[in-house]
């Protein structure tokens, strides 16, 4: 069974583990869950996040200087695993995972009940050639990114491998935190992509920040993922989830 749900307007939040304080990870997860967030991406901070804008970059370097690392993160997730009832997804750049040891990482993911893993700088081809068998051995489903310009053929291939997770649609070609503008032609493409996804949920992220954005996202996709705007709201001490939900 797929823990990610199709055809229900979902809201997902990306947090940077260890930001704003080292031990804030678990409280944030539980609080977001209690506010009705449908699933959460837990970001593993990395020193050189090449696809991230300033907000997530700075939250990552703060988290690292707070002392966050993979061991501490897994301990934190272990401590709340029985209190979390929504899917959690670990998201991060490949290098910290490789250095930790992919096999050890996957075993830990299973222990702390991660629903999926997103490694944006690991392409589908590299996954297939080098890592797929390990992910399958430990039954951790990968989630892959696609963009509006990804070919239909490629999308279908990724959908085929995502039966137990979802497809992550990057709203527009840009690093995180750059405002999305939802032009008509993009909305059309999103709908086409949703059709290609068949039973696999399609979640959209990158640059989504307002209630209006979320509503637009829900017209063509199954869920909206918010990252930079959430991190910003933490810094500004605003309750973003309340602002975004009816």
């Amino acid at each position: 069974m797929n823990p990610f749900i199709k055809n229900k307007k979902q809201l997902s939040i990306f947090i940077t583990a260890g930001f704003p304080t080292l031990n804030s990870t678990t409280n944030q997860i539980l609080e977001l869950q209690s506010k009705g967030v449908d699933f959460i991406e837990v970001g593993i901070p990395f020193s050189d996040p090449m696809a991230d804008g300033v907000v997530i970059q700075e939250s990552s370097s703060k988290a690292l200087s707070n002392g966050m690392n993979m061991d501490i993160l897994f301990d934190q997730l272990e401590a709340i695993k029985n209190d979390v009832h929504i899917p959690l997804v670990l998201m991060g750049y490949l290098n910290p995972v490789l250095q930790y040891g992919l096999e050890k990482f996957l075993i830990k993911c299973k222990d702390v009940k991660m629903a999926s893993v997103i490694l944006p700088d690991m392409s589908f081809e590299i996954y297939e050639r080098f890592y797929q068998s390990l992910f399958e051995k430990y039954e951790i489903p990968m989630t892959f990114l696609i963009t509006p310009t990804s070919s239909d053929e490629r999308i279908l291939k990724i959908v085929e491998s995502s039966k137990k997770s979802f497809v992550y649609l990057v709203s527009h070609t840009s690093i995180t935190g750059n405002k999305q503008t939802f032009q008509e032609n993009l909305l059309e493409r999103y709908s086409e992509i949703k059709a290609l996804c068949k039973n696999v949920p399609l979640m959209i992220g990158f640059g989504i920040s307002t209630k209006n954005d979320v509503e637009k996202a829900h017209k063509s996709c199954d869920g909206a993922i918010i990252g930079s705007a959430y991190i910003k709201s933490l810094i500004e001490k605003r309750d973003l989830v309340r602002e975004l939900t009816p």
């Binding site: 990395f46 090449m50 696809a51 750049y93 290098n95 910290p96 700088d121 081809e125 696609i146």
Partner: protein
């Protein structure tokens, strides 16, 4: 019979052995595919190759001389040749690659170029070819490097480029590269003109191919001067490794000893070093799996070298591969040794080398030579940009 793979050949995913590949987010996939297609096309495109070679000859001033240094030869008791990349237009080997890639960008119909730079030599080379080809030019440069390589910042600006400081991390080449990649993700119509044999496939293979002109020339020049094409040793400094890849390229499949000189900084065990092959281990940075300076959790460690062009925590995947299998030997040279070598070359030969290239000269002191050795040192660039550093040394 199965064809024997050459050291410089990559597999279908861009790997040299276990190193290389394209580890990039989906956002850059279309760009890299397009680039790969064009790169494969130009390899067999005579018109392209002719234009490339013609610009190298009439604009860059190639072939660069192969100069026999009498004084170094006397000191080390074997012939020591300097491959004079410092005499190229703009003052270093970086222009070879910049010419190749700007022609490729033109062929791809691009009109905006983005680049990173460390010492500023690649930035100047890029700004130069952009002026030549009427293209918009944006160069990211670490804030720390902007300070220590000020003359090159002024040159880039005079040539019409926009220089944007990279303020994150160590504020050096690594961070400038992050910013250039981010810019490229946001402006997928721009062409990313990378400056070394690093980054995702096809960049390492492409840059190595454009720089291979260095070893092609060494072959014919040595043949003319000594009667044989092969030296016994070739020495080149390695930041990302483009001048070394160029100087080694034609010699990988031979028994010539290839010596890559890394920046030891204050010493390889001091915690202030850029000697990646000594203190690094396999990891992914800037789109390729290579040797990388990192901590036990895979966070990239900030490198250190007095030389901005060598101050990088990684190394090109071709070098990672050939060092790992023992084809290339790596050694390291400290700041102090490089500075001494720069002064030595200046007073011996009247040649002021770039700080980067001074590392290659300093390596001579660390190697043993026999009288039947024939040595080529790749003098990758000139020292004009480093005069402030050189003059601040009171020991002179």
């Amino acid at each position: 019979m199965e064809k024997i793979k050459k050291y410089t050949e990559v597999d279908d995913l861009g790997f040299y052995g276990h190193f290389g590949g394209a580890f990039v987010p989906e956002l850059l996939r279309d760009n890299l595919e397009e680039l790969t297609t064009f790169f494969l096309e130009i390899e067999n495109d005579n018109a392209f190759q002719n234009e490339f070679l013609s610009l190298l000859k009439y604009y860059v001033g190639r072939p660069s001389p192969l100069y026999l240094s009498q004084k170094l030869s006397n000191e080390f008791k074997c012939p020591i040749f300097l491959k004079r990349e410092d005499l190229n237009h703009t003052g270093s080997h970086k222009i070879n690659n910049a010419i190749g890639q700007i022609l490729l960008a033109k062929k791809m119909g691009k009109s905006e170029i983005v680049a990173e730079t460390g010492a500023g030599q690649h930035g100047v080379a890029t700004a130069t070819v952009c002026a030549l080809m009427n293209m918009k030019c944006i160069v990211f440069m670490g804030e720390k490097d902007i300070e220590r390589q000020a003359p090159n910042v002024q040159r880039m600006k005079f040539l019409g480029a926009e220089v944007i400081p990279a303020k994150s991390g160590s504020k050096t080449l690594k961070d400038a590269t992050n910013e250039a990649i981010r810019y490229w993700i946001n402006h997928t119509n721009a062409y990313y003109l990378i400056g070394s044999v690093v980054g995702p496939h096809p960049y390492p293979a492409m840059v190595a191919s454009f720089q291979s002109v260095i070893s092609k020339e060494i072959k014919s020049q040595l043949k003319e001067m000594t009667g044989t094409e092969n030296p016994t040793k070739i020495i080149a400094c390695v930041g990302g490794g483009s001048n070394a890849a160029g100087a080694f390229f034609e010699y990988y499949d031979s028994n010539v000893e290839l010596i890559a000189v890394e920046a030891g900084g204050l010493g390889v065990n001091s915690g202030y070093t850029a000697a990646t092959s000594v203190v690094g281990n396999p990891g992914v940075l800037h789109g390729s799996l290579t040797l990388l300076m990192q901590d036990e959790y895979g966070q990239v460690v900030e490198p250190y070298s007095i030389s901005a062009g060598l101050d990088y925590p990684g190394i090109g995947p071709l070098h990672a591969y050939t060092i790992q299998i023992g084809r290339t030997k790596s050694i390291s040279v400290t700041d102090e040794e490089a500075l001494k070598a720069a002064k030595k070359l200046a007073v011996y030969e009247g040649i002021i080398p770039a700080l980067e290239s001074a590392h290659a000269i300093a390596a001579l002191e660390k190697l043993k030579f026999e009288s039947n050795d024939v040595v080529v040192v790749n003098l990758s660039g000139r020292g004009d940009k480093d005069m402030e550093t050189y003059l601040n040394l009171d020991s002179y």
